[in-house]
């Protein structure tokens, strides 16, 4: 169960090698979380992620999960929920893709969309159903500021996150009053493996800062969390910039 501050005792991370996912798990294990499920494709990275959390004292289990294979989601996630209540699901998988490359190879672009959006639709719905049946729990979804407005530099990734974000908002409304808390997290540029080698955007943040913001959002039962918080103001201004002007902005 969650405690008064929304801290879960059991956590399921979809995308078990995600840096933000693991930073969040580490933070929560230091508080109340005792059981962590890491869902992902079997890999040495997944094993070492599990080992790292075990060292902190958590009971860590892994489950085979592939965002690109929605037909297997029901079985994989069903197995996890059959073992007992999950207090928090963190949907943390996603790929950035390579905009220039993907524009030239539509099938690779589709892969980005399928991972970030389609995979989240199926696993998100399955988890939402399970949480609703148990009458409690938080579903925390990692979206992105990139989903707020299409940018020339990454609109394939951005559009997939836009879909994910809209989906999550709707799911949150659908689950309102069911005891299940749905939270969209919109980080800006996060310094991580995913963005290694890219030119850093203003207001860049780190996985740890995102994890900290998630913990605060759980405590306040927030529906939307921006990381850093000032992005809420920045983006609400940028959203209203006319397109001819927006195109020329160095964002």
């Amino acid at each position: 169960m969650k405690d008064a501050f929304g801290t879960p005792q059991t956590l399921l991370v979809l995308g078990g090698t995600s840096e933000i996912g693991l930073a969040t798990a580490r933070r929560l294990v230091a508080r109340r979380t005792r059981t962590v499920w890491l869902a992902g494709r079997p890999s040495p990275a997944l094993d070492s992620a599990a080992a790292g959390l075990r060292e902190l004292g958590a009971d860590v289990r892994t489950v085979v999960f592939d965002a690109l294979n929605p037909s297997g989601h029901e079985e994989a996630l069903g197995k996890v929920f059959a073992e007992g209540d999950i207090d928090m699901v963190l949907l943390a998988f996603g790929v950035l893709g390579d905009q220039a490359h993907d524009e030239a190879r539509p099938l690779d672009a589709v892969r980005v969309a399928q991972t970030n959006y389609t995979g989240a639709v199926s696993s998100g719905l399955i988890c939402a159903g399970a949480l609703q049946a148990q009458g409690h729990g938080s579903l925390v979804v990692l979206s992105s500021v990139a989903g707020e407005r299409a940018r020339r530099a990454n609109f394939i990734y951005g559009s997939s996150k836009a879909g994910l974000d809209t989906f999550t908002q709707g799911l949150g409304d659908a689950l309102h009053g069911t005891g299940v808390h749905v939270m969209v997290v919109r980080p800006g540029f996060v310094r991580s493996r995913m963005t290694a080698g890219l030119v850093e955007a203003p207001l860049a943040t780190t996985p740890d800062q995102v994890a900290q913001a998630i913990e605060k959002g759980l405590r306040r039962r927030s529906e939307t969390v921006w990381v850093p918080g000032v992005l809420r103001v920045v983006m609400s201004a940028l959203r209203h910039v006319p397109r001819p002007l927006f195109r020329r902005l160095p964002v």
Binding site: M1, D3, A4, F5, R31, R32, D85, G135, H136, R220
Partner: protein, 474 residues
């Protein structure tokens, strides 16, 4: 002499059930339910039986996520929530069955509130044996949490005055449970996890009037306060101290002590003597439904505490106060729990034994230093404990404080206090808990293993379950 009683229409509760509980709705759809602190909501089907038979049927039907009884929702944490299962709203079981007006014994259903009992019993010259800081708790809840009041040093907890219980257990049977048995000791303080209390027989306290004769004095700091409480507590039936946990430095732990007795008839002025047993609580408008977050910050609470301390007389004796004013000042404002805003609040109550005053000093100093904006902080001395396995009171000092749950860093801070409490053999109160580390529970409650073993035997399928029991593996 036992007189059949009483015209008990469905009780009119001036302060209704928690806003999370739509009263009287036998739902097909789960509704969100929270405790009085309004933290960690979870959804459950609400079932409101009107008779013992309906209660038995509801327990039979409750499904694989079980059920838990819920009265007026005054437990601060998650004791009366059951995520994904059923919550048995007992407020429909509201009959007072018999009153022995000469011997002072009442037999009533579990859903009858202490407020209702006072309305009915005071005119007959009887008072409930133990009342907490609110009248809006049910008799079933009083048994489940084994509640205590300002008279604990004299009268013990609620269960000491219970002569017998009717308990609906997981097998669907209704058992009569009397003091001195295992099931009684597991049920009193057992947080509803041994079964549903259907009715109770309770011994009452005789009173001549419905007024209290109250002495008030100020204590300049914590040591002064403890000395005053230690020296004179046994002279008064009721005793409690409001303590200013925001004050620092030399004023750390300054407090206002109030102690009282039921006023005898001859203490009343002539006018009041005509109706000495009148009971008419005043009501103020309810707290608004929406209160902005952070209203109770450090500055506002410091100001409140300063005024509250200054306003109290240095020493006053024999002031006449009504029962609501003395015992239940907050009951006058329905839904006062909303003033903490959306994130809700945490009430932290612990007890440490006599001889552990240093632990108490450490905690008070830490709270003052941390800057917890707590305007409701209460210190009192407990007397002898009662035999309930999970009953909270034990001889020593108990401190209760309210803190907004949204306060940054509050979780780790309270974990630190838990450690101090556990290290010196103390414990925190489960009826108020919403955040204890499960590992500490068996340290704080030595009777836990027996409790678990009895539950495993009595309720092998886990019919009775709550968010509290899931969180702490009770």
């Amino acid at each position: 002499m036992s007189a059949e009683c009483v015209p008990v229409a469905p009780a009119e509760h001036a302060a209704p059930t928690s806003p999370a509980t739509p009263s009287g709705r036998d739902g097909d759809l789960p509704v969100p339910v929270t405790g009085w602190g309004r933290t960690a909501p979870s959804a459950a089907l609400l079932v409101r039986p009107r008779t013992h038979e309906e209660a038995v049927a509801a327990v039979h039907r409750c499904g694989n996520r079980g059920t838990i009884a819920r009265g007026l929702g005054r437990a601060y944490g998650d004791a009366a929530q059951n995520a994904g299962g059923a919550v048995l709203d007992t407020t429909g079981l509201d009959r007072i069955r018999t009153i022995d007006a000469e011997g002072g014994v009442v037999v009533c259903d579990a859903g009858v509130s202490l407020h209702r009992l006072m309305e009915v019993l005071l005119p007959l010259g009887w008072f409930v044996p133990v009342t907490p800081g609110t009248r809006y708790v049910t008799v079933g809840g009083a048994v489940g949490a084994d509640i205590h009041g300002k008279n604990h040093h004299v009268s013990g907890s609620f269960s000491r005055h219970v002569l017998s219980l009717e308990l609906l257990t997981a097998d669907g049977e209704v058992r009569t449970v009397v003091p001195g048995t295992e099931l009684f000791d597991a049920t009193t303080g057992g947080m509803g996890l041994t079964g549903v209390v259907l009715s109770a027989t309770v011994r009452l306290h005789p009173v001549e009037t419905s007024l209290m004769s109250v002495d008030t004095e100020r204590a300049g700091d914590l040591d002064d306060l403890m000395a005053r409480l230690t020296a004179h507590d046994d002279r008064h039936r009721y005793s409690v101290a409001w303590i200013d946990l925001v004050a620092r430095g030399a004023a750390t732990g300054r407090a206002v002590l109030t102690r009282g007795e039921h006023a005898p008839l001859d203490a009343l002025p002539a006018r009041a003597r005509r109706r000495p047993l009148e009971f008419r609580p005043r009501q103020f408008p309810p707290a608004p439904a929406f209160v902005p977050e952070g209203l109770l910050g450090r500055a506002s609470v410091s100001l409140f505490n300063e005024l509250w301390y200054r306003r109290a007389p240095r020493a006053r004796r024999g002031q006449l106060q009504s029962i609501p004013a003395f015992f239940h000042p907050l009951d006058g404002v329905p839904h006062w729990n909303r003033v903490y805003g959306r994130s809700g609040f945490v009430q932290y109550q612990f007890v440490v034994g006599h001889g552990q005053e240093e632990a108490l000093r450490t905690i008070v100093r830490r709270v003052a230093r941390h800057g917890c904006p707590s305007f409701l902080a209460v210190l009192k001395r407990f007397g002898e404990g009662d035999p309930g396995w999970l009953s909270f009171p034990m001889p020593g000092w108990t401190l209760a404080l309210d803190v907004p749950a949204g306060l940054p860093g509050l979780g780790p801070f309270l974990d630190g206090l838990d450690q101090v409490v556990a290290d010196c053999g103390g414990r925190v109160y489960l009826a108020k808990d919403s955040r204890l580390r499960p590992e500490l529970l068996s340290v704080m409650y030595p009777g836990l293993d027996r409790f678990r073993a009895l539950r495993a035997r009595l309720d092998p399928r886990g019919v009775f379950v709550s968010d509290l029991s899931r969180r702490l593996s009770l």
